[in-house]
């Protein structure tokens, strides 16, 4: 690997990690689409801040973007609080409007500045290594790595310091308010973090990939665990793995890097959706099948136990009677009898199914339950 490749991978992993942390809380709070809205509108903040400072590398741009990100949240709330439109409609009205203003402002600058709405949407992480951070002539690596590293540190520190508040405000906002934490403060704090992360990241990877990295890994992690710290950790790992995998996919296909990373995020989610040990579709299907057999076997045992020692026992315990009585298809009924026999729960004597002592015990337990 060349040093430029290592730089790109480092930037990608740091971006993925810093996106996954606020993304986890967005997913849990059912506000995933706010990441889409904010990642579009921060462009307006960048443009407006650019009009003020006229320097594309100024940190003021990040501040402006964060402010417009918060403005988006406030506007959505103002519009939906009128009660005239629902919240999803409010989001769908506010962010295209702000984004449109940004696009029109940019096109009015066209040609004079390297600020292109396509580039903002799509990003070009391949250029990240060429923009170096070199104070006093000492090369310290790509600027993007420093910016995103700082944002990652802020996100990590914020999560550690306010973990209790975030957790409570996410899972039980009413209790949080009753205990004197302000859910609104947590809300706006989180939105500010989302805005700063989005603007830092989209310079490198584009706003759509910001959405993919913020939402995809936490959505996958949510299917893997019920514990918040573990979900945070898994999100970071899945995000970083998707970023690295996406990079190599892009090299393989010679395709857009951000697009490949988003695609791999999607593949990772589908894999988890299918294969998650507890909640995966495969595991669920297998559990359902197993439960179906267990239930059928228990019904057989209870049926035999009910008629044991009664005058009708001879009639009731013939194997073919089971199929009629339980309305089981013959093949299914035979399988049930066979597995029950294999487990030593019943024996076949003179065309009669008889409970073994273990079988009698199992029938009693199943009936009680």
């Amino acid at each position: 690997m060349t040093s430029a490749q290592i730089d790109v991978l480092l930037v990608a992993v740091v971006v993925a990690a810093s996106c996954a942390i606020p993304g986890t809380f967005l997913v849990l709070r059912r506000m995933a689409m706010m990441s889409d809205a904010i990642s579009h509108t921060v462009l307006l903040g960048i443009v407006l801040a650019f009009f003020v400072v006229a320097d594309l590398n100024s940190p003021i741009l990040i501040l402006g973007a964060a402010l417009v990100g918060l403005l988006t949240v406030v506007l959505v709330e103002v519009v939906s609080r009128t009660g005239l439109v629902r919240e999803d409609t409010a989001i769908g009205l506010v962010f295209p409007a702000l984004f449109s203003i940004a696009v029109i402002l940019i096109s009015s600058l066209a040609g004079n500045v390297h600020l292109d709405s396509d580039a903002v949407l799509l990003g070009e992480i391949a250029f990240a290594p060429f923009n170096r951070f070199a104070p006093f002539g000492v090369d310290l690596g790509p600027i993007a790595l420093w910016v995103m590293g700082a944002i990652l540190l802020v996100n990590l520190a914020g999560t550690f310091l306010f973990f209790k508040e975030l957790k409570l405000a996410t899972f039980d906002p009413a209790l949080a308010a009753a205990l004197g934490f302000s859910p609104a403060l947590v809300h706006y704090g989180l939105m500010a973090v989302v805005s700063v992360t989005a603007v830092g990241a989209f310079d490198a990877v584009g706003s759509i990939l910001v959405v993919a990295l913020m939402i995809g890994p936490p959505a996958a992690a949510y299917l893997l665990t019920d514990r918040l710290p573990r979900m945070l950790g898994l999100s970071v790992v899945i995000g970083a793995a998707s970023a690295v995998g996406g990079y190599w996919l892009a090299r393989l296909l010679d395709a857009n890097i951000a697009g490949s990373m988003a695609t791999v995020v999607g593949i990772a989610f589908i894999l988890v959706l299918l294969l998650a040990p507890q909640r995966g579709l495969v595991a669920t299907a297998r559990r359902h099948r197993r439960q179906r057999w267990t239930f059928a076997r228990q019904m057989l045992l209870i049926h035999l136990a009910t008629h044991e020692g009664t005058p009708t026992e001879v009639d009731e315990s013939r194997p073919d009677h089971m199929q009629r009585h339980m309305r089981w298809p013959p093949a299914f009924g035979n399988r049930v009898v066979q597995t029950a026999t294999e487990r030593g729960l019943i024996v076949l004597e003179n065309d009669q199914l008889r409970l073994t002592p273990q079988g009698r015990q199992a029938a009693r337990e199943a009936a009680v339950r």
């Binding site: 995933a32 889409d36 409007a97 959405v211 993919a212 988003a262 999607g266």
Partner: protein
């Protein structure tokens, strides 16, 4: 006036205006249902997800015919909608998360396919990047005809199944008890939303097309409580935003999509503020008027109560200091001067106030009107 005369004489302008009108009518009418069914953000996800469809359709067929690209866009947009519904049903992922995920993943896949196209030497690749933000000026007559025909299919679908879609939008549970196949109808209406989105892709672009689905419906909702009127108004608003925005962008040389979206947003703001009965200005004025009338009635009943304590002379002047203390000086003074102007209260020499005989009668009438139902038991 130049623009107006050009509109009828200039071929490009006429094409642009007609196309934008068709787009606005279709997205407005179908979008009205999306707004009612809380699918505003689904429209956003679907329009982003149309990008890989456009790119794949071009890559496979090599054709830039609008119908081919629209079919491709519709297929992936629809696939994204199905995936969202399926993921939500099959796992504990919530709708918001599924939408954001599919939006970004489909869009990312679209970028990957776009890079394949950009590597092709074919000259025909030019113009595909216009699908991001749209370009009305590039619209041809054949585009307009295709947009209008595809849109007409969508509108026809709504007309044929009007009753079913109406019930589905307002009371899906009741629709299910009537034996309507709600799941299939739901899928069908969502598929029609795809039509609304693909019709505008070339003019407005994938990024902003969702706004054209949401804004006209949200604006129209403020003016009426009837579905038929709302859908018609929504189509009109959509057409107005489309034509105005496209003409503005052509004369001011701005990107078409964002300009149309800003015009549509302007319509929403006007509607939110000024629509009768629902608009903010109207409700504020209504609240303000009710407050004033309540203050008048309160002060009248206070004065009547004071008068009742001195039955010998009902119009004897009273010191209003007590009223000031209880209800606030500004409110009481304003109410008193209005009552005096109406001849219901009078100010006596020495500063005291009382009701006039007419005021007493009015206070008595109000007291009987306002009596709580329990008083009659």
């Amino acid at each position: 006036m130049d623009v107006l005369s050009d509109l009828f004489l200039d071929y490009t302008l006429r094409t642009v205006a007609l196309g934008s009108a068709a787009l606005g009518i279709v997205s407005g009418a179908l979008g009205a249902f999306a707004v009612l069914r809380r699918q505003a953000l689904l429209g956003d996800a679907m329009s982003h997800a149309a990008l890989p469809g456009v790119a794949l359709a071009f890559l496979i067929t090599g054709s830039r015919a609008p119908l081919v690209l629209m079919i491709g866009a519709a297929l992936t947009g629809w696939l994204a909608a199905v995936a969202i519904v399926y993921i939500v049903r099959a796992s504990r992922t919530n709708t918001d998360t599924a939408m954001a995920l599919m939006l970004s993943v489909f869009f990312g896949a679209g970028l990957v396919v776009l890079t394949f196209i950009q590597r092709q030497p074919a000259a025909g690749k030019a113009g595909l990047d216009k699908f991001l933000f749209g370009q009305a000026a590039a619209m041809l007559e054949s585009d307009v005809i295709t947009m209008a025909s595809v849109g007409a299919v969508g509108l026809l679908g709504v007309l044929v199944l009007w009753k079913e879609f109406k019930l589905l939008s307002f009371d899906p549970d009741f629709a299910a008890t009537l034996g309507m196949p709600t799941r299939r109808l739901d899928m069908l209406l969502t598929s029609l939303l795809v039509i609304a989105i693909v019709v505008g892709l070339k003019t407005v672009g994938v990024v902003l097309m969702s706004a054209m689905v949401v804004a006209p419906g949200a604006a129209a909702r403020q003016w009426t409580n009837r579905l038929g009127v709302m859908v018609t108004l929504s189509a009109l608003f959509g057409a107005a935003a489309g034509v105005l925005g496209a003409l503005l962008s052509t004369t001011a040389q701005t990107s078409t999509g964002p300009t149309i979206v800003l015009v549509a947003t302007g319509l929403v703001v006007v509607s939110l503020l000024f629509a009768p009965t629902r608009g903010l200005v109207w409700t504020r004025m209504h609240a303000w008027r009710s407050q004033r009338i309540l203050a008048l009635e309160a002060v009248m009943s206070d004065l009547a109560a004071l008068a009742a304590q001195h039955s010998s002379d009902a119009t004897r002047p009273h010191d209003v200091a007590a009223l000031h203390a209880v209800r606030g000086r500004a409110l009481v003074d304003r109410a008193l001067s209005e009552l005096a102007a109406d001849g219901l209260a009078q100010r006596h020499d020495g500063g005291g106030w009382s009701l006039t005989p007419r005021g007493l009668a009015e206070a008595d009438r109000l007291a009987r009107l306002r009596r709580a139902p329990s008083d009659f038991l």
